[in-house]
Symmetry: C2
Subunit: 678 residues, 2 copies
């Protein structure tokens, strides 16, 4: 056996003392104490399960063994965990009192005790035990030739019960394997709600056997079959995750109305009235709330969709209905009058109220974006709070109003990961409003939060790089204590977790390489990668101006798609500049000037590459500006030369341009500091 | 519009003259003439389809547009192709006379004419037209700021009608997305048969609703649902690919017998007699051919499986039954006597003959591995020829005997891509025997060939790197003229195609990086990658000695898994050494010595990395031997010093070791040349 020497070596106990701060745990546990000892991992490592857990724990523990074995290459003797008390003498003992129920407000706590010869996980249910297994995986340490765990005692539970990720599978369809790998990553980050945005103007993505027109006419052939939906619900269940489907009505209805124009709000709609939308934005197609056929159709749809999902929540969207087609349709105006509905908001409330019994029939509680909020709604409904300063609403206002009115709520404002904002903005955004005094009851109505991944600008190739690793930070915000807010610690741990996500199939790192190879026309060079590490895609909604620059079928294989938020070398450079500004010693100076020199070289190389790579051309103006400014800054910093302030200012502004390749230089602010420095 | 300048530039016609040899077409077309001109690609590029093709052409052409747009970033105005004669004035015109039928012996030919203002594809059916679209994609050229096609005239058709890839989804389950991306890659290489090995000792992978025990007891939960099977058959159909399912009987039966021990050949089997196999090799569990229940079960299985596949071929395996359990079971011996079956081969033939009507009922022709061959079999059967020198059978003998006996055949001997052999061995292996005189009729019985991807040592993460790019070379062997055998041309074109396969989701390049990151414990360094580029996994069946070193659940995340056949820098080094041996000028010398210096450095870096990466430890002995030998060779080559011949010979032998990390140094032969050189 070739691997025997590893086994032998690893039994020689590592004498490393691990400090709490060294651990790359994420989300950070509620309570942890590290002692001076280690548990040595060998190929004889085994797991045993006792108690009364849900059988889902067996597959998860088997996966745990496989992941640990894959990381360490130890060739564990145990390959599967299949039943209770299979290996009573196993080193890792898991005990669960009861079977976990998928949903909210379940006990997800766990205790994890690692001693030098034993690992003990105690949890009320398998839900907590599965969280504990993820913690164990994150605790793995190594020296030069062995793997071990530090001896620790952890007691852990979530701060919020709703820790969600939403994936928009409508604007760009996301195949089953994208959903599965993201469910795995969610479980690794102890998230427990997957909100599946299944319909929108750009497509209807769920098979309805009694209404085949929906997929025939409104999906472009990209949809989930009912079996696939059930398969995903089961896959999520096995990972302790609740699936909340969303059928977005009455707005965002271009797709459904392409199949069923007769329930649209335009006057006398026919089969040419509506079409699948190819652009992004807010569109007018809206269901007709005055038409009984609308409710007939929705009722039939819910009757078919509800049983596919085992959870008790159903999201009906309800957002961004501007009511334009309602205003222009006299029949709908008449209906409003007849029913004494003064505003379109009241009309939409009327509409929403019709849906409640349709869902109740299937034991589903209605959830919707905050536009559905109204005093008449049942207090069972969950209001999904999403508006904030971008929408002209003061931070926390919508959330606070919601809970004050007695509704339960989930916060998404501040967690829009599609906007390409820095992780800090999401991480420091607490679901619990800071400047409002709330009663305990009101606080309890804040179920948690959810990161929405809208898919206007992502494909299956790029979506992971928009979700991860920033969503790991959001997951920590939902799980950990509110005082866990140190950015340096977050960044360190997030980097470690980011790499571990690859083990679950997340493609955020590997697919960047694929995009860069295409952009460089397969020319081998690090310049393009170097440049990508200081550029970020345009933020908020500025990349897709008017929502028409990119159609749903446009290429998302461009430089902006390869770049991510939190450009990694920009973070390093920014820190280097901050240190240099504080203390201009030669050590600090070199860290800055090395980057400046690198960027001059990057530009030279990019120009070379561009002679055989048209997709590099759009980057050159920005790269040249950076190179030119770097040259000036080097003269100033290294040669202590006086540089022409107007010329430098001009170059600096060029470095702030957002007109090239849909990216911006993430080092602009630091460059500005260097320009302004004495 | 930020991209408008690309559009403008690309209308300025590239004046590049493209030579035929510059084109990276694969498989190489039967006839091609390149003229002096170009077709400029702009965002106004559109496609139009006329004639009577199968509607599958629409989705394929839409995908073609997306791929071309993704490569070029041109933002084509046309996003979809949905019906006949949609854009009559489009630049690319496709005309098909008739609807293509998925199967063998169909007309797959096409004519492609690219003029400076028009591209015309004429094909009998959409099958040929889809091949033409792949050719167009491979013809794409660029200069610094625009994309274009050379003006060409191509007439093309396949040499063999059966151009297959087999994927073993039994030993390691391969999820749907693995199958789909490989079907896409097959289509890109103009392959038309996907042979799906669905059952084996290590697992039963296909849901049977009437026999749920098969997946409940014999799949570890890893199987395809019937809907998924149908989905894949449709996906393959849309790409012109026939799916041939394989249910392997009567041997390779551990899984089926785990569910149904009562039809096993062991005496008085019960539920503990059989278990899912975790090792690799040839095992004894075999169906009982004397038991009527065996045929009852198989008949019921075929009744359920056959309708899921639209094609007319069904593979029943039949290989590697050594009959040990038949010999040791007196009841089976008695049955043999009673039925005058003298050998186990005759007994197996008896068994096989019972299956023919079960399949015929569903209009399926039986296919099986060559062990099923016997003079009594219907001549309709297809004999799958796989034995060769590895199995002690002279090359071509089994194939030649088969066709001489009147059977149709498909050749797999020589195409076993799981064996990690160099591409040359597969590429120069012609399905048509060279040393036997065959009649035209006999030749016609050679339908083609098939590359088998057995999955003992691959997971979904690594399988692509075993299939691709070598299967592209095999695809060329099956499609192109027999005279197309130039290795230098093959390598050049294969490299280009290999990178293009990424666009279809093939992960052979990107997942190597993932494995290396895990091995290096996420330490950034190129040394590990450099070393992987001169190492190859152990070949044939030597990696998994006794078939028990690796279980199905063992880690396949090791250095050997990151390495591939045809180690890329080894090829470059070997060529450098060959040139140096011919002419020891300083230019040739530097090319060699630069590598030697690199490897000394690689070893130093690997030692450094290993201090924090246990998985690097197993590589160090080999890396040290290479470094030590490189030092000696540098002394000899650069310093013209006399080196100790015994010491050097000893180092050389260490470089030939196969005892480290399951890899071998692919530069050994070249090192030997340098050692022996005067």
């Amino acid at each position: 056996m070739k691997y025997i020497f590893i086994v032998l070596l690893s039994t020689i106990l590592a004498n490393a003392q691990v400090k709490t701060d060294d651990l790359n745990l994420m989300p950070w546990p509620q309570s942890i104490s590290v002692t001076n000892g280690t548990f040595a991992l060998t190929k004889n490592f085994k797991v045993n399960i006792t108690g009364n857990p849900n059988p889902r724990i067996f597959a998860r523990t088997t996966q745990f063994l496989g992941r640990l074995d894959g990381r360490t290459g130890l060739f564990f003797n145990q390959g599967f965990v299949t039943k209770i008390n299979e290996f009573p003498s196993a080193q890792l003992q898991i005990n669960c009192t009861q079977s976990g129920k998928i949903g909210i407000n379940e006990d997800e706590s766990y205790q994890l005790e690692i001693k030098s010869d034993k690992i003990i996980i105690n949890a009320t249910s398998d839900l907590g035990a599965m969280h504990a297994l993820e913690t164990v995986l994150q605790l793995l340490q190594n020296n030069s030739n062995s793997y071990y765990f530090p001896t620790v005692s952890i007691s852990d539970f979530p701060r919020f019960t709703w820790r969600g990720l939403m994936i928009d599978a409508a604007r760009h369809f996301q195949p089953i394997d994208v959903i599965k790998r993201n469910l795995d990553a969610m479980a690794a980050m102890k998230m427990n709600v997957f909100h599946w945005h299944l319909t929108d103007d750009q497509g209807w993505r769920i098979e309805l056997k009694n209404h085949p027109k929906l997929i025939q006419l409104a999906s472009d052939g990209n949809y989930y079959t009912q079996e696939e939906i059930k398969n995903i619900v089961k896959y999520a269940d096995e990972r302790g995750i609740l699936v909340v489907p969303e059928i977005d009505v009455p707005g965002h209805a271009s797709a459904i109305l392409t199949a069923y124009p007769e329930v649209g709000s335009k006057l006398n709609p026919d089969k040419n009235t509506y079409a699948i939308e190819r652009n992004s934005g807010i569109f007018t197609p809206t269901l007709d709330p005055s038409n009984p056929k609308t409710y007939q159709l929705l009722s039939e749809i819910f009757d078919e969709v509800c049983p596919l999902f085992s959870g008790n929540y159903f999201h009906i969207g309800g957002d961004e209905n501007e009511g334009k087609d309602w205003d222009s349709n006299p029949k709908i105006q008449e209906f409003k009058k007849k029913n004494k509905l003064e505003t379109n908001h009241e009309l939409q409330t009327y509409f929403t109220m019709q849906l409640i019994p349709m869902l109740k029939k299937h034991n589903k509680t209605l959830m919707g974006w905050e536009e559905i909020r109204t005093k008449n709604l049942s207090k069972d409904a969950i209001i999904h709070s999403w508006k904030g300063t971008n929408e002209g609403v003061p931070t926390d206002q919508s959330l606070t109003n919601t809970i004050k009115e007695g509704y339960k709520t989930v916060l998404s404002n501040g967690y829009y990961i599609d906007l390409m904002l820095p992780v800090e903005s999401h991480y420091l955004n607490d679901p619990m409003p800071k400047n409002t005094i709330l009663t305990a009851e009101e606080k309890a109505r804040i179920l948690g939060g959810e990161a929405p991944m809208w898919s206007e600008l992502v494909t299956p190739t790029t979506i992971d790089s928009r979700i991860w690793p920033r969503t790991a930070a959001i997951a920590e915000r939902f799980w950990s204590d509110e005082k866990v807010t140190d950015m340096a610690s977050l960044r360190k741990r997030m980097n470690a977790v980011s790499l571990q996500l690859e083990e679950l199939g997340i493609t955020h790192i590997r697919n960047k390489e694929v995009l860069l190879r295409n952009i460089s026309n397969n020319q081998t060079n690090t310049a393009l990668e170097d440049f990508s590490n200081i550029c970020e895609p345009l933020k908020l909604y500025t990349r897709n101006s008017e929502g028409t620059e990119y159609k749903t079928y446009s290429p998302f294989t461009l430089f902006a798609d390869a770049c991510t938020a939190d450009a990694k070398n920009a973070l390093v450079f920014n820190e280097a500049v901050n240190n240099y500004m504080k203390n201009k010693n030669s050590e600090n100076q070199i860290l800055v000037t090395d980057y400046l020199k690198k960027w001059i070289n990057v530009n030279t190389k990019l120009v070379e590459l561009s002679s055989n790579a048209p997709l590099i051309q759009p980057l050159l103006p920005l790269s040249k500006s950076l190179s030119d400014l770097s040259q000036q800054l080097l003269l100033k910093i290294e040669k202590k030369q006086t540089v022409n302030p107007t010329a430098v200012k001009d170059l600096l502004e060029k470095c702030n341009s957002k007109n090239h390749a849909d990216v911006e230089l993430a080092v602009y602010n630091s460059l500005k500091k260097l320009v302004s420095a004495e």
